[in-house]
């Protein structure tokens, strides 16, 4: 009896496609480390054979709702994050590996992986950071990484009104004496 011809789906034979990865980076990442973290993410993608078509720099935004992620058996809640996106061209056979690497990244709160057209489709010129008012408001998130603590200078602490007046008076007196 002749063997039946099997039709198997071989993903490797498919042509590379354009995908978009939208990602939310943890607010625990410091501004100065942001570029390094993004380049680390990009390096992990290039290792899988991805080529970059375009990208949107991460912007600090206020999330529309509280998100939570379990990191080291601990539920961490997020109200803010860095939102950025990357458009890549990659072989569909590598998509499963790519998702695996993204899942392993602890700094990613969430990511969105979708098919996208090559050209830029964002119409609004206003940056997302401005629309969603991405301003650091200090460590409001439960279980937040200590690095995130907003370091306010000691000078920023408000003095009582009477003390301010006294200080001003003494300064004026000193100035008058010098003159």
């Amino acid at each position: 009896m002749a063997k039946k011809a099997t039709t198997t789906f071989v993903a490797e034979t498919l042509e590379p496609r354009i995908y978009e990865i939208g990602y939310l980076l943890s607010p625990a990442v410091r501004d100065e480390d942001l570029e390094a973290r993004v380049s680390e993410l990009k390096d992990s993608l290039t290792k899988l054979g991805a080529t970059f078509v375009s990208e949107g720099a991460p912007e600090f935004i206020d999330l529309a709702y509280e998100m939570s992620k379990i990191i080291d058996n601990k539920r961490v809640r997020f109200n803010q994050g860095y939102f950025g996106w990357l458009k890549i061209e990659i072989d569909p056979a590598q998509v499963a590996n790519l998702k695996e690497t993204l899942d392993k990244n602890i700094l990613l709160i969430r990511y969105l992986f979708i098919l996208a057209p090559r050209e830029n489709t964002v119409l609004s010129k206003k940056p997302l950071g401005k629309i969603l008012k991405g301003e650091r408001t200090g460590p409001t998130n439960e279980g937040e990484v200590p690095q995130m603590a907003a370091e306010e200078p000691a000078e920023a602490v408000e003095m009582p009104a009477d003390k301010v007046e006294e200080a001003l008076d003494s300064e004026i007196k000193e100035m008058v004496k010098e003159a």
Partner: protein, 68 residues
Amino acid sequence: MSTQQCYFKSNNIKHIDYKDIEILRKFLTPTGKIQPSKRTGTTKKNQRKLSSAIKYARFMGLLPFIEA
């Protein structure tokens, strides 16, 4: 009977991006629900694209699921 025009057709928008939250907000009710095409005049095809884009934006925390 007045015929409403599809916003995306009249502005020649072929791809509805989930990052365009200013546009997407126009199609939400004050409570954050997606408005029906009957109300906004979007074509069936664009309504499907729009609802996907809104759902992507919600997932990424750019839009709320429900507005207080």
